[in-house]
């Protein structure tokens, strides 16, 4: 079953209201108060979030409340709600700047960080210029932040922070305030210190105003208090009718006192303002109430009416006064979470890719290692055929290399045929000439013939024979000396 908790925090107590979607429709599940022994709230801001959170947690546990969804309600002076008229074509950021400027005019909000939410209402043409009414509400960021933190500590998911006037509107929507109606209503919310007033056409807010009051004055000097209320009402009505929207008349006044003990205030006011019907608000028909639950209906009707309106967010209905002071912070928070989520997703993706890649590589390594092991075992015990074939190949290769190297030697080897050269030189030796030294060197390809002869003629004849034989490339006489009978000579023949 879907349900939601409404919480209204004050210095001395917390009001709790729970509604849920049951077979009876929206049903009131709980109406209670948590008393706070020590003050944990200062000027609307939760100063001791742990303490308050513990109290709320204990309450949830004691009452077996399983829902985690919660909505908080705040009221003036910690919340500010108005309708202002702005040029039609402003962007959201520009509207926000205008609203901040508007808030800065009030002393309590000057230079404070504010949580703002706004909604464009109807378009209006003012002196030929297109404008738009903007409903906005604001509170201190410190306040909304402290609520968010506290309820998070209490294990609750704070889905919204509502303001009293807008909550009452939700509570009375389609009961006292009908969307189809064109009736102009003045809705008055009387709290202990503030009188909040809103003029609505049907269920659409047109003008909002608040006045500081003290309801204790009602007990002290009732007549004076009523007179002051009447003055405030008249001022508001006149201002609206004369200055704001001309020609529209307020046809009724609905009063929502914050305490059940002021439930006769409408009668007192009616005496002073007989021309406008005045009635008390009655949001009770909005939800189903189990009679067996002994619920104080007056409490629900007045003191808890704001909370009831706040919890009616459960309806999830589009309404012109649906503002949420948590939107900005929630959006920022969501935005931060989204960034973290994005980073986390990116890192997870990278890690996943890394793990998959690593697994793939490791798997492949293992598969290859297994294959290598198998091949190793095969190679370790080669078959006889392989041994024989390898041996054949090795032998062939060796022979091939030996043949190749031998052919290289053969190419390099020169066969000078010494015998031929020498024998040729010897054969041509004439009778009267003899050789004493024959020297043949491969290095300079020279055959050097040293000998003796009885005549010079024989030497020259010999040279002539050697040259004419064609066996040598060149024949030259190096030296020839000695006496006529015994001449020594040296002839050099260049071999071919």
């Amino acid at each position: 079953m879907e349900s939601i908790l409404g919480l209204e925090l004050a210095e001395d107590r917390i009001r709790v209201l729970e509604i849920g979607k049951t077979q009876n429709g929206l049903e009131l599940l709980r109406l209670d108060k948590i008393n706070l022994s020590a003050p944990g709230i200062k000027e609307g801001i939760i100063a001791g979030p742990k303490l308050i959170a513990e109290r709320i947690s204990a309450f949830l546990k004691e009452n077996n409340i399983s829902t985690r969804k919660a909505v908080a309600l705040i009221k003036p002076p910690h919340a500010f709600t108005r309708i202002i008229r702005l040029p039609y074509n402003l962007s959201d950021d520009q509207i926000r700047l205008n609203l901040e400027a508007e808030l800065n005019q009030y002393q309590q909000f000057t230079d404070k960080e504010m949580a703002i939410d706004f909604k464009k209402l109807e378009e209006i043409s003012e002196e030929g210029i297109k404008k738009v009414n903007v409903l906005f509400t604001a509170t201190f960021k410190a306040l909304s932040g402290s609520y968010l933190k506290t309820l998070e500590l209490a294990g609750l998911d704070l889905v919204g922070i509502d303001v009293s006037m807008l909550s009452i509107m939700r509570a009375l929507d389609e009961i006292d305030l009908k969307s189809s109606s064109l009736e102009v209503t003045l809705l008055m919310l009387i709290t202990q210190k503030y009188l909040e007033m809103c003029i609505l056409k049907g269920n659409r807010p047109r003008f909002l105003h608040s006045v500081e009051i003290d309801t204790d004055d009602l007990d002290r000097d009732r007549a004076d208090f009523i007179d002051r209320l009447v003055s405030a009402i008249k001022l508001m009505v006149n201002f609206y009718q004369a200055r704001f929207i001309q020609g529209e008349e307020i046809t009724r006044i609905i009063i929502n006192p914050w305490e059940a003990r002021y439930n006769q205030i409408h009668a007192l006011l009616q005496e002073k303002l007989p021309q406008i019907p005045i009635q008390l608000s009655n949001p009770l028909s909005k939800i189903y109430i189990d009679k067996d639950k002994s619920i104080d209906l007056d409490e629900l009707r007045f003191a808890f009416s704001g909370l009831l309106g706040a919890t009616l967010r459960l309806e999830d209905k589009a309404q012109p006064f649906n503002l949420n002071l948590l939107t900005e912070q929630k959006t920022q928070r969501e935005y931060r979470l989204n960034q973290i989520y994005l980073l986390f997703i990116s890192l997870t993706s990278i890690l996943t890719i890394a793990v998959i890649s690593l697994s793939w590589v490791v798997l492949k390594i293992n598969i290859l290692q297994k294959k290598i092991t198998r091949i190793d075992s095969l190679l370790g015990q080669p078959s006889p055929e392989l041994n024989k074939a390898v041996s054949l190949k090795e032998k062939r290769d060796i022979l091939q290399k030996q043949i190749k190297e031998a052919s290289l030697i053969t190419q390099q080897l020169k066969n000078p045929l010494y015998f031929q050269d020498i024998s040729k030189a010897m054969v041509l030796t004439p009778e009267d000439l003899w050789l004493t030294d024959i020297n043949l060197e491969e290095q300079n390809k020279n055959l050097v013939l040293t000998g003796e002869s009885n005549t010079e003629k024989a030497i020259f004849n010999y040279i002539s024979s050697l040259t004419g034989s064609g066996y040598f490339e060149a024949v030259e006489l190096i030296s020839s000396k000695g006496e006529a009978q015994s001449r020594k000579f040296i002839i050099r023949c260049t071999t071919k």
Partner: protein, 206 residues
């Protein structure tokens, strides 16, 4: 199905808005951070494993090639056998020109016997250290070495020339680098032949 597409479209739109909302500096910082973490992860874990994988893959490919090669060898065993026979026949002729490393002493014993057979005397026989034969790539040949030696022989002209002829025309490669024949005595004619030569040795390897 249509609803799912609609939801998906809205989610994509939401994500786009989210991306647009992120300030540029934050976005860049986020991207850098994510990339940095990705890089560090890659460097710390994946890069090492990829290197290992590459090494193993190389090993595997090599082994696979070896296996393929062996299979091919087994398949070509008959061809190899024929080739071997052919090469053996070729080499049988070639090796006659070379002296086996272990046959060197026999070779020179034969040489001395040959000299003697030609009525010549060995005056001296000096060896130089065996040397490597360098190929065109300036690498030493594996199976062959050169042995240079100088020999001095005494005898008559006819026998010296006959021996020279025999050596040059012999089956072994006998490289003569220089020959010097000089007369020792005029009567009876007695010659000395100094010769620098080299033979090629077939080395025993493996």
């Amino acid at each position: 199905m249509y609803d799912k597409i609609k939801i998906l479209k809205e989610k994509i739109k939401g994500a786009q808005i989210l991306f647009k909302k992120i300030p540029k500096e934050k976005g860049i910082l986020g991207i850098v951070l994510v990339l940095l973490i990705g890089f560090l992860l890659y460097q710390s874990f994946i890069a090492i494993q990829i290197k290992k994988l590459k090494a193993i893959d190389f090993q595997f490919t090599s082994q696979k090639k070896l296996i393929d090669f062996y299979n091919q060898i087994i398949k070509d065993a008959n061809i190899l056998n024929n080739e071997l026979t052919e090469k053996e026949n070729d080499f049988a002729q070639i090796r006659q020109g070379f002296v086996d490393e272990e046959e060197l002493s026999n070779y020179f014993a034969d040489f001395r016997a040959l000299v003697k057979a030609y009525n010549l005397q060995v005056a001296s026989l000096d060896f130089q250290p065996q040397e490597n034969i360098i190929d065109s790539n300036r690498e030493p040949l594996t199976y062959y070495q050169r042995l240079k030696f100088s020999v001095s022989l005494k005898g008559d002209y006819f026998n010296l020339m006959s021996l020279l002829y025999k050596l040059e025309q012999g089956s072994s490669r006998f490289e003569i680098n220089s020959v010097r024949i000089k007369q020792k005595n005029a009567d009876p004619p007695d010659l000395i032949m100094d010769m620098e030569a080299a033979i090629y040795i077939l080395m025993k390897r493996g």
